[in-house]
């Protein structure tokens, strides 16, 4: 690897540029050659995967208050039947 500064290498920059498409490809990223030797990018990938995994656990929040439906009903009484 070519050291540049602060632990970042040319390889790191190239690898990180490819990350969006690598994530989208669904490949197992741990098999990437660069990650076998780069602790920094490995940590980055772990964190981004972790964030995506945790996000999947967020649904749902909770229901809106009953007042929302009451307001909808009030508004609907003013409306004509839905368009067909």
């Amino acid at each position: 690897m070519n050291k540049v500064r602060n632990g970042t290498t040319v390889d790191c920059a190239v690898f990180q540029d490819q990350l969006p498409s690598l994530f989208e490809s669904g490949e197992e990223l741990s098999t990437q050659d660069h990650l076998k030797t780069c602790e920094n990018c490995s940590a980055l990938v772990r964190d981004l995967e972790y964030i995506a995994q945790q996000a999947k656990l967020l649904l749902p929040i909770h229901d809106p208050s009953p007042a929302v439906w009451e307001k909808i009903q009030t508004e609907l009484k003013k409306e004509t039947p839905p368009a067909k």
Binding site: T8, I51, Q54, P64, V68, L76
Partner: protein, 220 residues
């Protein structure tokens, strides 16, 4: 383009490709009685419309709340989304899942609201030709903390709230709601590449936010 002005609810986007079964089920689980309720609601049956509200209110409200971070505004937009549903349900033809169609309608309501508020938007177009400064920044060796196993739901929700609206919307739609990039591109009227780029930037920004939060906690 920051916010589409077109009514997304009336402009179905590209058809989604086949998905992994669990992904599809996570977002659009089969709902008993939904198809019949849609048909009856289209014919003006109030009870069926109420059933559709009961089935979908939580997901619509969740989207609104995550995008706005404010209960009162989220409830107002949930109300608006369902009023629009009532007005437009007759135009639903079943080309996509009803929940997807409704979600697009809700996304449009949220976008219209954000535009009216004049909130700073992250342009979805700018990533078509990102400048050097605009591209996802590189990690420069911050090895002091890793996130794995250390972020609870509340912390992540708070960090999402602090994302710029453009990043937040793509992140919520993709990583939380499970939409594919082609569907998001259809909803937001941007390219698939833009959607991917915004998602990556959003995750990078979230990582920064979460790590800076951890550093602050470590200091205290």
């Amino acid at each position: 383009m920051s916010i589409p002005s077109k009514d997304l609810a009336t402009t179905p986007g590209p058809t989604a490709p086949a998905k992994a079964p669990n992904q599809h089920l996570r977002r659009n689980p089969p709902i008993a009685g939904e198809a019949e309720a849609i048909e009856k609601a289209q014919a003006g049956d109030a009870a069926s419309f109420e059933m559709l509200y009961a089935l979908h209110k939580r997901r619509v409200y969740s989207l609104c709340l995550r995008m706005l971070g404010n209960v009162a505004e989220a409830e107002d937009l949930t109300q608006e989304a369902f009023l629009q549903l009532y007005r437009k349900i007759g135009t639903f033809r079943g080309d996509s899942a009803f929940s997807t169609w409704l979600h697009r309608l809700a996304v449009n309501v949220v976008l219209m609201h954000l535009r009216k508020k004049g909130l700073p938007q992250v342009s979805l177009e700018e990533t078509l030709e990102p400048s050097q400064e605009d591209g996802p920044r590189k990690d420069i060796g911050a090895r002091d903390l890793t996130l794995s196993g250390s972020v609870d739901r509340v912390t992540l929700e708070r960090a999402i709230e602090n994302l710029p609206p453009g990043y937040r919307l793509v992140f919520v739609l993709h990583d939380v709601e499970g939409y594919e990039h082609n569907e998001i591109a259809g909803m937001l009227e941007c390219s698939i590449g833009n959607s991917k780029s915004q998602l990556h930037k959003a995750r990078m920004k979230l990582r920064d936010l979460l790590k800076s939060g951890q550093r602050k906690e470590a200091v205290l």
